[in-house]
Symmetry: D2
Amino acid sequence: MRLGPFRFLLLVAILCLASPDARAQAGNVVKYRTTINDVKYVYGVAEPVARLKPGDTLELNTLDGYGNAIQKPGDTTANVKGGFNPLSGPFYIEGAAPGDTLAVTILDVQVDADQGIGTLDSGFAALSKTSYTPMLNPPLPETIWFYAIDHATNSATFHGVDSNYSVKIPLHPFWGCIGVAPSEGEARSSIVPAEFGGNMDSAEVSVGNTLYLPVSVPGALLYLGDGHAAMGDGEVAGSAIEVPLRGRVRVNVIKGQKIDWPRFENDDTIMAVGIYRPLDDALRIAFTELVHWMHKDYGLSELDSYELLSQVAKIHVAEMVDPNYVVIASVQKKYLPAKKK
Amino acid sequence: MRLGPFRFLLLVAILCLASPDARAQAGNVVKYRTTINDVKYVYGVAEPVARLKPGDTLELNTLDGYGNAIQKPGDTTANVKGGFNPLSGPFYIEGAAPGDTLAVTILDVQVDADQGIGTLDSGFAALSKTSYTPMLNPPLPETIWFYAIDHATNSATFHGVDSNYSVKIPLHPFWGCIGVAPSEGEARSSIVPAEFGGNMDSAEVSVGNTLYLPVSVPGALLYLGDGHAAMGDGEVAGSAIEVPLRGRVRVNVIKGQKIDWPRFENDDTIMAVGIYRPLDDALRIAFTELVHWMHKDYGLSELDSYELLSQVAKIHVAEMVDPNYVVIASVQKKYLPAKKK
Amino acid sequence: MRLGPFRFLLLVAILCLASPDARAQAGNVVKYRTTINDVKYVYGVAEPVARLKPGDTLELNTLDGYGNAIQKPGDTTANVKGGFNPLSGPFYIEGAAPGDTLAVTILDVQVDADQGIGTLDSGFAALSKTSYTPMLNPPLPETIWFYAIDHATNSATFHGVDSNYSVKIPLHPFWGCIGVAPSEGEARSSIVPAEFGGNMDSAEVSVGNTLYLPVSVPGALLYLGDGHAAMGDGEVAGSAIEVPLRGRVRVNVIKGQKIDWPRFENDDTIMAVGIYRPLDDALRIAFTELVHWMHKDYGLSELDSYELLSQVAKIHVAEMVDPNYVVIASVQKKYLPAKKK
Amino acid sequence: MRLGPFRFLLLVAILCLASPDARAQAGNVVKYRTTINDVKYVYGVAEPVARLKPGDTLELNTLDGYGNAIQKPGDTTANVKGGFNPLSGPFYIEGAAPGDTLAVTILDVQVDADQGIGTLDSGFAALSKTSYTPMLNPPLPETIWFYAIDHATNSATFHGVDSNYSVKIPLHPFWGCIGVAPSEGEARSSIVPAEFGGNMDSAEVSVGNTLYLPVSVPGALLYLGDGHAAMGDGEVAGSAIEVPLRGRVRVNVIKGQKIDWPRFENDDTIMAVGIYRPLDDALRIAFTELVHWMHKDYGLSELDSYELLSQVAKIHVAEMVDPNYVVIASVQKKYLPAKKK
């Protein structure tokens, strides 16, 4: 069926009534093609590679955490040039100013390769010594696992390197790195997550969720990278199934709403992110943020929020392997009063 | 119908073939009624209150974490006599000897009251100062929430103490305390979880799961208590919806299999428990135990187990409020090779 | 000059007036000889091996942390029977009751052997994996260092096991283990320090200092063991120069004064002990105890105490290798107001 | 007396033989006057304010951690413009290149004011909630203490704000902030210490010590600030006695020697710095660096270094209040073999 102009406008009107996000969906699509020549390795102030208006959709591809430099048996992390976690961006969001909140809704994420890799090295790990939890024990051998990606069954296949065993793992693609320029003039490595987002390695950066980030510089300066085809809680051996990705995200700006840490939201759940180490403090950050959120937007007292979370909260340990750890505390909206206003 | 000896043996053989647990299910039911007069406050060596054979089922009730002493508005933790988390037991398991593993399968758990309570006090909390993370900040007010239990809808109702709001929470009853006498002559408070189990506050102690505990003294000496009607991850305000429980558990002894930390298992999943603080170390304990388990029982190398968990593991932060914290790392069996032998 | 009886009594009277401790020095000396046959491996309630009155002096020897079982090259920790850190005691202090404070003044400590040992094993270490900070890295080799004790020069000699190097280390002998029966019916391993003292590995347990411990059972039930000839801050490789000791301690009871954690004091300094993990929490416990002590006994407000400590406090990380860590926060009395009353 | 060329060369030769630092002492003195108009708030790449050659001495003043904005009762941290810890610099050191080590010898430090201040606020504290260890407890009141500096007696006087008490504290002036531009393109806040040094709050930055810092950008780009007149271990309430300073430091470059973390050295002692959180990991970093240092420069095996440190190491907890914590592990040279070569 072809729509005449009137019917088209009617449909738009209906969509706009049906969903508060509908008008945003009417924004432009900005396409961006990432190559190894224009990636960045810090979240900070840099010349924007593209500009978006609130409501626009960014369609882009990203390189994997090794700049796509590990492709076949024998390749190692020594093949990586420039650094780990090359970032696409920055993308300048018109109208975003310090003190605002950037909303990034994940519309589509696809694995952009037929293969993913997992690596065990000395820098990132929860169960073996690292730069920041150093030990005198001998290291484990640096090892790389190759996962075949089967787009038809939407799965990746694990093959043991010293065990005769393989198994399929369902894909859940997401960006490990997503963040904006930090506050107070800092520039931070693409390895580290913090208040500005960054290497959060959170499976929540996937279709259906909106990520909120605090804006600290004009234009917010959004970066993405470090695609994951699938990952377990904690990312304990230090990597996910690392892949290039392609996908679409829609950006919006919430003027004058200041948040201190990243947040996620979908139709069912609100999720507060805490980032630092040890996990104890990451958890405390996430939960105090969630209490403040429930108090401010849903009108529950802090004390009642605290108690209610003791009964119904969920905790997601996203990763314990980057320099800072990521814990996400969440509560389903069905347990909350109606949102204020 | 009466079974002749041949038919009976045939039936036993069929049952044994049908299920490795079948013989156990043929065990006796030992009933035990807990009162405040015979509870214990430490996991340790004490005169058994009852004896079970491997395969027997224990049917019991337990008091709530306050010895059922808080019943109405105005009651406080000052009403509690004897201590927190009064324990039913110890139950002596015939044939259990140091170096064995005790298996406790949760068959049934029911809330044994029409009301549960949640308490905020200065001793247990993730987001406010405690005895072991002391601060100089002023304390929060000691507060008690009363939850009506609705057995028909299988739910508890939260009522705000200073917010005009109430909401129903589905019940998921489990014992917060379950453990055996510790090793090396120790006796440990019913407040603290450790290698012997104890106050693990793990929602995994519920119907369908089997808990494995390391046996350190003759008879293992099993204790249970601290019933919870429902609880969020982390138990962040320091208590669940605290209730008396009644239920049934079946005990078995795995001779000559030594484990260092508690484990859970059901048809789909194996789960290793790590207990200490900070959460980082609890997580490391849980995951190294899980790697060892996968290596020993499922034949994957340690390195391959490590990598596979990086892609498919789940982490459950059971609690971060008791003196020691509890993290449970798990993997679904569908990702593992067939169990050895 | 020889004193006639009158002059002697006069001197005693003067001494008694001069020092509140002088009368205590007039107590009896109770001698106790430890052998491997009567040691204990938990702090808890057990039949006393001797009884002392307040003011009495206990003169005793203690075995080393291996029960003196490692004597020559080739001996290993596998030689150890019964357990680590065998304890002398318990010693019953007449009149000590729950809620009181036991004061133990260290009068004399001597190394009771011509050799000490240092061991590196998998259980205790700050820089290599342990039971409670497990890793998948390969272990370091279990290694034993033998130190010759030179009583004439009051030193021990380090000899490298794989370095051609030796160096003398001055002796500073102290008991690694000193504690009383815990509260609430607990019995704790001689490996673990906690509120009751225990394996604190604090060089403060040496001549000139008084240790205060909270009394939780009638008679307090004092235990000592785990002699150290010398030790660095943190005891990072997991052992000191481990030796048998002999020495004298004087006991006193402060009736009706309840403390929650161990404390030390000498003429110049007050020192509060915090015990748990991570170090952050041990430090918080030590300092909040020190603030409370300054407030209660010296009359400074909590806020002023907090600020003053920010400028003049000292921190001693006694050990980061036992299951719980020990941090001691101290302030010199010259910075404090006069003690109240 | 004028020196002929031969005598001059002879003198140089004698000086060179007499002291490895002698030639450096013959360097120029570069004077720099800091004002609030040219301070920086991040360690990173910026236009140098002055250039020094290896061996030169920098003579400068620095502002206090509040930009000298708090001067009298009633002033608060709200008076602070621009940010906390304004930094003097960057100073470009000729010839310093990535992979080199910058050596900064502290020659002189003087308090440059008649008053210092201590502040308690919500951001920095070990015993009260902060941004990174948040709690729901009510805050402590923001409070400022003023300390009179007595240059004649070299002391500062503490006056209680709600206690009628004052006491003199001896001065030990040092820079809380000293660091270089970080690696990998990062720019870091003057609040945070890390691999590049920064807000280490280490009393070791005082006369007689040399600080080694890893060079990550051409010219190293040295910054100094955040003067302290005196400070206790841990800086527990979140500030030292904060003052402007003036002083002199001599800079040198050790070509081709790469270090990963800051180090200190004086005639008697080598000191390795570990920076992160929790304290456990800061301690592990410091000690593994110290072991590597002893192994590489003094020829002891790692295993023997580990054991020797267990007996003679010292630990200094510099601060537990900044976002990252600082622990310094040290060993006296008298315990080490002769330095190699």
